[in-house]
Amino acid sequence: MLPLELDQITFSAGGTTIINGISARIEAGPRTIILGPNGAGKSVLMRLCHGLLEPTGGRVVWHGARNGDVRRHQAMVFQRPVMLRRSALANVVYGLQLAGKSRRESELRAMDVLEVVGLEKQAHRPARVMSGGEQQRLALARAWALGPDVLFLDEPTANLDPASTQDIENIVNAIHASGTKIIMTTHNLGQARRLGDEILFISNGRLMEHSPIDRFFREPASPEASAFIKGELPWHQAGGTG
């Protein structure tokens, strides 16, 4: 699948340019963090990469794409997990069956990943009555079960307490260790430091810099990034998610 190349991609909606001519090459291996303030366009950029949105200009190219469905080799976990009204196990099985796996194979695989994320005892509980942290772990399990080459995570811990956040971060690292490329958005500097190997810093729909994590925090190249790191947010967008 990788590298993923963004070639001058632009996205506009309703007369507003949300992503403005971003070019970048994302290689296999390092955990990539898309960092930026709320409203910068992080989530939209991720949806463009994943194919949920079509760019209004430019191209998204998967250079290592094998024959077949590009989407099948990617998965995404959203800020707010969307669970079907069925058991935790059935939610994981659902994704596997859409990917063409047999029922029996799906159930075995689903039980395996539920165990890895610590939800094996809850396998038969209805997914929607689980806590926010459990639902997000389940969302990770559902994505991981598909064995994606690339996993997109859109602010996966934004609504969670510190303990649940740590669970999620541990699982993300385990998924990384299993060989899946991690691409994650966050506006949380601590999380970026803990989980990131390289940073794509986005501000106002533009890519301000793309650098290894150490260098980004030691010597940010753009005034926006250094202001963001210092916590001096010159942006005034209220609420919303990037």
Binding site: D69, R71, R72, F78, V82, R86, A99, P126, V129
Partner: protein
């Protein structure tokens, strides 16, 4: 007042005694309205789901039309089906005017818009919530729609019950296409209308009691289903 009291007492005796004339009328009513709701569900649910997830020219117009058709006056539906099925009409050769089949067709036409419009709304709301996740997992529109129908099944069941309530309570359509023939096409509502005008209050009141109890039971059932589903599945 004593007349009214006597009528109530007589009505109660008919209901409590499972009077055979009354029971026959109730059974035919249920048969007609349940058949109509089944047919209307088979047509209206996929229609509602398709409109909810598909994007096509004229979609908004269709939604407005469907919503407007929810308020179709039963007598107008009855008249249209009457014209279609009457001897000179395009479907006159079927020879089903003044039969329960004609009544089922009329009630189906009456409640398809209700089931289609309400399920469209329910499924579209769910689609808004789920669509990114489902598309991310590789669901296409059709498989996504099937997933949504299953996931909103309890809300959809409430809609179907509402459709049944409407069918069981309407009088205009079945009166016109059924003809209110004793023992053949006489249902609860048409009997109530006829017996009231004839002055035979006990039978009319007895049927009225059954009809009201039925409507209350349906609503209670819908509430219980919702409650259980909410508690078990969130």
């Amino acid at each position: 007042m004593t007349d009214l009291g006597e009528a109530f007492a007589a009505a109660w005796a008919l209901v409590a005694g499972l009077d055979s004339g009354l029971a026959g009328i109730v059974m035919l009513s249920l048969q007609v309205s349940l058949s109509a709701v089944l047919l209307a569900t088979l047509i209206g649910l996929p229609l509602g789901a398709a409109i909810a997830v598909e994007r096509f020219p004229g979609r908004q117009l269709l939604i407005v039309l469907l919503n407007a058709l929810m308020g179709l006056p039963p007598v107008v539906v009855g008249l249209l089906i009457y014209l279609l099925l009457s001897r000179a009409g395009p479907l006159g050769s079927l020879g089903i005017l003044f039969t329960p089949q004609a009544m089922i067709i009329a009630q189906t036409v009456l409640i398809v818009p209700i089931i289609a419009a309400l399920s469209r709304q329910t499924i579209e709301d769910a689609w808004r919530e789920y669509s990114e996740q489902l598309r991310s997992l590789g669901a296409r529109r059709l498989s996504g729609a099937m997933t949504l129908i299953w996931d909103t099944r309890f809300s959809l069941l409430t809609i179907v019950l509402a459709g049944f309530g409407r069918a069981a309570a309407e009088v205009g359509a079945v009166m016109i296409v059924g003809g209110n023939i004793d023992g053949v096409t006489r249902v609860m509502t048409t009997t109530i209308a006829l017996e009231t005008s004839k002055g035979d209050l006990p039978l009319a009141l007895g049927l009225g009691i059954v009809l009201i109890v039925l409507v209350i039971l349906l609503n209670a059932l819908a509430a219980v289903i919702r409650e259980i589903a909410q508690r078990r599945y969130g």
